[in-house]
């Protein structure tokens, strides 16, 4: 029901990431064509050579080659899938993350908190500061890996009061990304559903993002944690902590 509502509403807005098919359609293909051709050729050669040679070693080689060939033909790699490489919104548009939470408060109150961008560092662990610069532009400072800071300018590219905020990073930003947050009424008296959609090209390319995922800094989890803090603050008036001194 909620998704239907969003689809209808976003039909009227300018084309951005939030307007693409919802929920996102996912393609199984996650290996780019040059790699498919390369590994396919190598796999075929190994399979043939191994089979001709025979014996345990030969057949092992042949089996490995066969797997490589199958992977290339299918265009899908289970390892890549596990690492999140090349999936979601197609091969070229980077990583897409979506997370949602239901907050038992009116949409207007939640929208107002989010629309004042200087509030966001309170709920977003990695965001150090957001400074509005006028003309729908803002300057973001985010804590990066190993004590570094990453900075960029963002543009609020679309908004509908109490319903939707969309933004994208300035073209000069190191971390190319765009995102949206939608505020949808939850059924009955259950408050407001917050749907966040973030699409980004990570710094250092796909390899760096894959490493980051392996070592725990998974962007979906970050967004989930931030949304939880947002919910705690808006519902209970404070953010849970086990600190006691």
């Amino acid at each position: 029901m909620a998704t239907t509502t969003l689809a209808r509403k976003t039909m009227q807005s300018p084309p951005t990431i939030a307007d693409r098919s919802w929920p996102l359609t996912q393609s199984d293909t996650n290996i780019a064509m040059p790699e498919r051709l390369g590994t396919g050729t190598l796999g075929a050669a190994l399979a043939l050579g191994g089979a001709l040679r025979g014996g345990l070693a030969g057949w092992s080689l042949a089996a490995g080659g066969g797997l490589m060939l199958a992977r290339a033909v299918k265009g899908h790699c289970a390892c890549y899938a596990a690492l999140g490489i090349g999936q979601a919104a197609g091969l070229t548009s980077g990583i897409v993350v979506r997370r949602s939470v239901t907050i038992d408060r009116p949409a207007a109150e939640l929208y107002a908190f989010w629309r004042d961008l200087t509030n966001l560092p309170k709920i977003m662990r990695h965001v150090k500061s957001v400074r509005p610069m006028g003309d729908n532009r803002s300057h973001w400072v985010v804590r990066g890996p190993l004590g570094t800071e990453i900075q960029w300018d963002a543009v609020t590219s679309g908004e509908r009061e109490n319903e939707l905020i969309q933004w994208h990073a300035d073209a000069a930003a190191l971390l190319t990304h765009s995102g949206s947050v939608a505020f949808l009424p939850a059924p009955a008296d259950r408050g407001t559903e917050i749907h966040v959609l973030l699409s980004y090209q990570p710094a250092g390319g796909r390899a760096a993002a894959a490493l980051a995922r392996l070592f725990g800094s998974e962007p979906g989890q970050e967004i989930a944690d931030d949304l939880r803090k947002f919910k705690q603050q808006m519902e209970s008036g404070e953010m849970a902590t086990n600190r006691y001194h």
Partner: protein, 389 residues
Amino acid sequence: MRAVCWEGKQDVRVEQVPDPHVINPHDAVVRITLTAICGSDLHLYGGFIPTMMPGDVLGHEFMGEVVEVGSAVKRIKVGDRVVVPFTISCGQCFYCKRGLYSACDNTNPNASIPEKLYGYSGAGIFGYSHMMGGYAGGQAEYARVPFVDVGALKVPDHLTDEQVLFLSDILPTGYMAAENCDIQPGDTVAVWGCGPVGQFAIKSAKLLGAERVIAIDGVPERLQMAVNYSGATPLNMEQVDIQEELRELTGGRGPDSCIDAVGLEAHDGLLQTTYDRTKQAMMLETDRPIALRQTIMACRKGGTVSVPGVYGGWIDKVPFGAAFGKGLTIRGGQTHMQKYMGPILERIEAGQLDPSEIITHRLSLNDAPRGYKTFREDKSHCMKVVMRP
């Protein structure tokens, strides 16, 4: 301050830790006057609950005097004498508003851990692992109490600490276990486990109108307490075939409700214990559901299996076909404390029960290591340990 700290499997120590302060606006700090060791603390002591870390302050059954309150605290005042529930609840979320306080959305700062394990996280709990919030517990001189207005129960001066302390966990837990049975006139309720929660489940089942309550345990002294305290019918699982006795005691019908007040460390001294211990050692199973299996097999058609006993992970060989085939209702979970504390306090004031009767050991907080060891090892003589800081 002094506090009881978990340092490893079967290793608790009294240590000096920093004094707690108000951190969040809805907090209070309570000077603890009486605290207890819970049966579920023995699961921590035995190393069965993951995400404990050396130095964690234990204890989730405590009461005392409020000595400091945060800026947003309205109902509770400095000087109030309060019992603190073991679950921390915000009072504002979907679940709290519907009385499902132990499912609170907003009080576990480490919610992402149970989300991976269970799908969603329940409320934070004092002194019960980092998965459950990593909050410092109440086996200490002081404790920080978040959302004190939602949780803390003010208690009248004419009742002693010992009479009201168990409102912090085991008494409402036993009561909710009995209430979950939806007891009707003429009902027989069978209760596995005559530890503290079992004793209060038996007592509550009687208070809620059960015709007969059958107490099941392997320790004669614990069965005797169930007889003396609540007028239960005792069954010694070491001496009789439980399934056969339950069937014959109920004219072939089976108990209308069965309560598993044992949980994940159950044992039967027989084949099942060996089976489950082996699976546990091989990391193929985390909990030993022996009592749960028996409740499901014994319960009459359309009856209720109520589970106040703690489970933490995966269980094996549960006769779910029997549960389905008989159309059982299975209810359980952490207790919705804030819903029950007030009404049960009224029953205590009215003289319907005296919870202090189950106390067998009164120690100083400094004797906590001995308290844990005794509670774990001497089931015949140790029913409940309370400690004064």
